[in-house]
Symmetry: C4
Subunit: 216 residues, 4 copies
């Protein structure tokens, strides 16, 4: 079975990463375009501008959250690719599925920014994030099944644990958090924040990464 | 004649790839910008939002199709560059022609998204895709004619076969699929889907790619 | 304590740089999109077009200033990464904070372009720039505290000096310049220009950089 | 004097190239966004769509010209960086000036697309291109003056010739072509086309580039 793994050849890991990094950089940057300079009646009135900027606050907050969320996803993407030795055609399409959900993130983010008290908007966000998490889970599962694709130094037990974590924190917890929106949308927001905090201070993949000091 | 091949020097393959990857990443990412957050009369009405999102479904489907199509093109572009040793000035312009059609793809895609029952819209899409396919065919033909540009390990017979496949699946079948729109647009859609499926599971270039496991 | 530095592994410095460079390239390029081709009553009237282009002059000037400012920031970002050996997870998030402010720059720049005589607009610009400067200061401070992250050839005394310079020129002077807007906005503009000129001809990091001639 | 060349250290040539390539890729890709899908009264009318697409023809032609022009500039940028060993801070700012004009190209291009019979629009385009050419000339002059920045294999006589060519074809001929618009705009268009054709088939830098076959 392993012989079939590279039947259609491998893709240059570097180019797949450049392509992915480009997508992340663009998505992250486009978010600010949503915030337009306010129109003032009196161009030199500091008071009017102050209230205009205050009115933009929800947009600023939503922008910062999206930015941080996409950077969390970038770190996870980086950690995923770090354990893989090469990219075969199946893993390429698994990565495309992942990037598809990454590109979609701005839409549900804008949705909760505009309708923070709409249960469907808030649970729709959680649903999209859970499908993004599922895409990561599928990618990690594929590595677990096809050990030959992983780097030799990857510890199997630690990697297995990271797959389990990906399922719970990336997929299941988002589904639960999305469901909570139908009780109260603020419960979902709290749950989404907790999951984000987990990812920022994530211990899950710790043992996978040896202390390397190469500047590459 | 071979002496003339590099008369104007070679271009750094790496920079041509970075440039191309950047273009692919941007085109793929810009597609989502077409989908705007719906405006709701009652900001907290889940029912109203549900029907708004349902109304956006054709846009979502068209977005996924474009995304997957451009990723298929990216894989083909990757495979094309994989067999080339270096990029001379002629091949650079052949690549520019290819990128030009890549950049144009969002236009016919939006066209069939808006007018799926208009035979001209549907056949226009096929025509653009066939010209993109023709650009790939020209690129592969150039490699066939100037063997010195290809990597030494490339098998000539297998490469020749890939050129023939590029002509049929990338160009001719799209022309036929485009013509079918004048019978019924759904015939074209079926044909376009079949060609896409062929490319995802493509066996054509199989023998070209040795099982390499380098992480680069 | 140093043992904890790489507890969560290192990130590939190269990918963090590609991601950052992508963000800089996009932000710099998007700025021109704000300038639209003027509408003419008489399409072939050179006189009418001349006055239209003259009317766009403030937009052109503001565009050049933003472009140069972001290139200054890019150089500083480059110099920051140059002294670091590797990127750990903490430094990654310090870099995210930095990129967040970089992405925000177009907003205050557009603000001072539209309302150059509004003291709040002018001091808001300075405030954002000072927070961007603070992000650089935090990044440099982190390197000072965790010497193991820096390259071996970095001179400690010279690096320390660069941290002090980052605090004064990147943060404090921008705060003062921002405050001056409440006296007269032109005083702020003069101060912002002086800080920019300092950065273009910056001597601060001079001794850090050995004369290397490698083409990499 | 040469000792001062690297007084402020060198920049990683690779990062400067990534930054530049990103800018080129984005500018090239954004051009297509100007072409919007036409609105049809009868969604399934092939006749109505045909006339709509025919009406977009000038936009398509202008888009192809911009695309090809920016690719010509990319090749010139590539050839410029190819002869340089490293990037010092002065050359970085020379490159920023160059990229500034690259980013500006879409504006005059849209201008001649909208007002092809307006002498100011047509000569404005030539003026911008001549300033872009001047930026290249300055960059090449800097290399001529500071021989240590160039790669060892660069032939001085051939390089000198390329500087002269850059002055005539990149700067002076564009100034003359721009001036011709005041006689008749079509004379300028003919002159611009001839200059473009020269650059595509340019022999000027021929002797600089050894026949290398490295795949890098």
């Amino acid at each position: 079975m392993e012989d079939k793994l590279f039947k259609y050849g491998v893709l240059t890991k570097n180019r797949v990463e450049t392509f992915s990094d480009g997508i992340f950089a663009i998505i992250v940057t486009l978010l600010i375009l949503e915030i337009k300079v306010p129109h003032l009646e009196h161009a030199s009135s500091a008071r009017e501008l102050a209230s205009s900027i205050a009115g933009l606050m929800p947009k600023f907050v939503s922008w910062v959250i999206s930015f941080v969320t996409l950077c969390i996803v970038w770190v996870n993407h980086h950690r995923l690719f770090e354990v893989f030795k090469g990219v075969n055609i199946v893993f390429f399409w698994i990565n495309v599925n992942l990037l598809l959900w990454v590109c979609f993130v701005p839409f549900p983010t804008a949705l909760i920014g505009d309708y923070p008290r709409n249960p469907l908007a808030v649970s729709f966000y959680g649903l999209v994030m859970s499908l993004l998490g599922l895409a990561f889970f599928i990618a990690r599962m594929y590595g677990l099944r096809h050990r030959r694709l992983l780097k030799d130094e990857v510890d199997r037990a630690a990697y297995k644990k990271s797959v389990v974590f990906a399922f719970f924190f990336g997929f299941l917890f988002y589904v639960i958090a999305a469901a909570l929106a139908w009780v109260h949308t603020y419960l979902s927001f709290a749950a989404y924040s907790l999951i984000a905090v987990y990812f920022i201070f994530s211990f899950g993949t710790k043992k996978l990464h040896a202390v390397r000091q190469s500047s590459g």
